[in-house]
């Protein structure tokens, strides 16, 4: 699969990025080069190889169901551009 301007546009929209024409050209070329590079993996015969879900050889890492202290709210609200009455404020979402 080669990457074209439409794919770049689609991926940019999914990532909420607005690209200029110049950026779109540049990223199309760069993404195509990256995909080309990764395509080398296609040369390997993976018949009989289990799909990898995780790179670490770990399984079943869990924690006991215990409550730990949460953050202090004032600090949390300071992380947001706007807060009001304990809520983090965002542009009105219409459902």
């Amino acid at each position: 699969m080669t990457i074209g301007r439409d794919e770049v546009e689609h991926v940019a929209r999914l990532a909420r990025l607005r690209l200029t024409d110049e950026e779109r050209e540049r990223f199309t070329a760069q993404l195509a080069a990256i995909l080309d590079y990764v395509r080398k993996l296609n040369e390997i015969d993976t018949a009989g190889v289990e799909p990898t879900a995780h790179v670490l050889p770990l399984r079943n890492v869990t924690r006991p169901d215990e409550v730990r202290p949460s953050l202090e709210r004032e600090g949390v609200l300071r992380l947001a551009p706007r807060a009001d009455d304990g809520f983090i404020m965002v542009p009105r979402v219409i459902e």
């Binding site: 689609h10 929209r13 999914l14 909420r16 879900a53 995780h54 790179v55 670490l56 770990l58 399984r59 079943n60 890492v61 869990t62 924690r63 006991p64 169901d65 215990e66 409550v67 730990r68 202290p69 949460s70 953050l71 709210r73 949390v76 609200l77 992380l79 706007r82 009001d84 009455d85 304990g86 809520f87 983090i88 404020m89 965002v90 542009p91 009105r92 979402v93 219409i94 459902e95």
Partner: protein, 482 residues
């Protein structure tokens, strides 16, 4: 369905249900999973998605998910993992939801339901574990905009997807209620639709009756009660049938149920974003459920509510209605069986529990396990009634006192003088007095008005404060009036 065009089509419905798991902490962090806390006080770097934080799976949430899967007859995956579902929405701080994509914890189960008096098994495609999103509050005026509360973010959710095998709104509601009962039986969730701990979306399509191919699927959301589910689905089926009858095409879309208007309307926006780019979450390692754990959980499964209902009718000879009410909650069913084990006659115990007990519990707002009346107390009271020592009317009064004070039935009967009056001489004296005081009623009865007898019996009961043995009163009266 009132619309004639609807009769030519049959509905195909699949439900996607989300329930909150009842854990102390959230699914991937130690914040409380409880509700009602002031906004944004149950949050931490993990559930806010702050850089450098690492989620770790809650052991209890995993157990509950496996237990639910087993209860629903699913296969437990030998290997399962968590994936990121990527989308932007203000209630999702990480811009992805940790969910499960191609390797859910449980798959391939089913749930037996009863609708319109018929039993049917509805297939369950999959059951998986994921995290809930935050809560958006839309305020009028003031600061404008929407408020976000991240307390709910990261609360464990179980997603249960049914096969598209439900054939109408009645079956869909029956499935939902049976699912709720079943999950409450194993105690993994409260499944309270009003409080949002059970949410339901539906996929609805229709096809000409008898056709094999499926129609275009419409997703219906925003149904906030069992009633709403029934009404929304009935409306949506009718809408699609009418559209097809008029030669229109059904659009593949998401529609929201608007309860006040009683219609479904297309949801705006968000449609294009249905490209979630799932990929394995590198922060969470795979889950390989241990065989020993799965077998331990399997061995702990209770009898499913519907099967228990059948057994109550069979073994205890209870009417279908009693069996259904008594098995609606596991605690009530357990309590009933403890009463029977303590020696109570089943139907008498059922009457007391369904009548007085459930009413008083509801008034007091407490669960049955907090009731002061022990099953042995119910057995004692039913024995007193069966032996004729307490009348049915007085039994209710005795029970109310047992419920309020936690004292034994016999003790109350003695202390309050509620023992049934079965002394023939004493009753003859009372009957004589009542007949002398109400000569007209006596004459009416002799003249053939059978109703007058009821009035006289009532007077005798009043004179004895409800303690008179009714069988004996009738016998004495018939003799006196005969």
């Amino acid at each position: 369905m009132s619309d004639p065009s609807a009769a030519a089509y049959e509905a195909v419905i699949g439900l996607e249900v989300h329930v909150h798991l009842k854990t102390r902490s959230k699914v991937f962090c130690g914040c409380p999973a409880s509700f009602g806390a002031p906004p944004n006080t149950n949050v931490c770097p993990v559930c806010l998605g702050l850089p450098g934080s690492l989620p770790v799976l809650n052991e209890a949430a995993l157990r509950s998910a496996l237990l639910a899967g087993l209860m629903l007859g699913c296969r437990i995956a030998p290997f399962s993992k968590f994936d990121r579902k990527n989308y932007f929405y203000p209630d999702l701080p990480k811009n992805y939801q940790i969910s499960q994509y191609d390797l859910p914890l449980c798959a391939g189960g089913g749930l037996e339901i009863e609708a319109d008096g018929r039993r049917r098994r509805i297939g369950i495609t999959r059951v998986h574990l994921e995290e809930d999103a935050g809560r958006l509050v839309h305020t009028e005026g003031g600061a404008g905009g929407s408020g976000v509360d991240f307390n709910r973010t990261g609360v464990p959710l179980l997603e249960i997807v049914s096969e598209p095998e439900l054939r109408g709104p009645e079956e869909a509601v029956a499935y939902l209620k049976e699912l709720r009962r079943t999950l409450r039986y194993i105690g993994v969730s409260d499944c309270d639709m009003e409080k949002g701990s059970l949410r339901c979306d539906a996929n609805v399509s229709i096809r000409p009756r008898g056709a094999a191919a499926l129609g275009v699927k419409v997703e219906v959301k925003n149904m906030n009660s069992f009633r709403a589910v029934g009404k929304a689905l009935a409306h949506e089926i009718e809408r699609q049938a009418r559209a097809l009858a008029e030669g229109e095409r059904i659009a593949r879309e998401t529609r929201l149920w608007e309860a006040e208007a009683g219609v479904t309307r297309p949801m705006r926006g968000k449609e294009e974003a249905h490209d979630y780019r799932y990929f394995p979450d590198p922060d969470l390692v795979p889950v390989v459920p241990a065989a020993a754990l799965v077998e331990e959980l399997r061995a702990s499964l209770p009898e499913p509510p519907l099967r228990r209902r059948d057994r109550f009718a069979d073994r205890y000879g209870l009417p279908a209605y009693d069996a259904e009410v008594l098995t609606a909650e596991r605690e009530t069913a357990d309590y009933f069986e403890a009463c029977v084990a303590a020696g109570a006659e089943p139907k008498a115990a059922s009457n007391l529990i369904m009548g007085e007990m459930l009413r008083l519990l509801k008034e007091a707002g407490i669960p049955i396990r907090e009731a002061k009346v022990a099953p042995a107390g119910i057995a004692e009271l039913t024995r007193l009634v069966a032996a004729g020592e307490v009348s049915g009317t007085a039994a209710k009064e005795v029970f109310a006192e047992m419920f309020a004070a936690g004292r034994g039935a016999e003790e109350i009967v003695r202390a309050r003088g509620l023992a049934q009056l079965s002394d023939e001489g004493e009753l003859e004296r009372v009957v004589g007095e009542v007949l002398r005081a109400n000569p007209q009623s006596a004459a009416d009865y002799r003249a053939g008005k059978a109703k007058a007898l009821g009035f006289i019996v009532g007077r005798v009961m009043k004179a004895t404060k409800g303690r008179a043995n009714p069988g004996l009163v009738n016998k004495i009266l018939k003799k006196a009036l005969g």
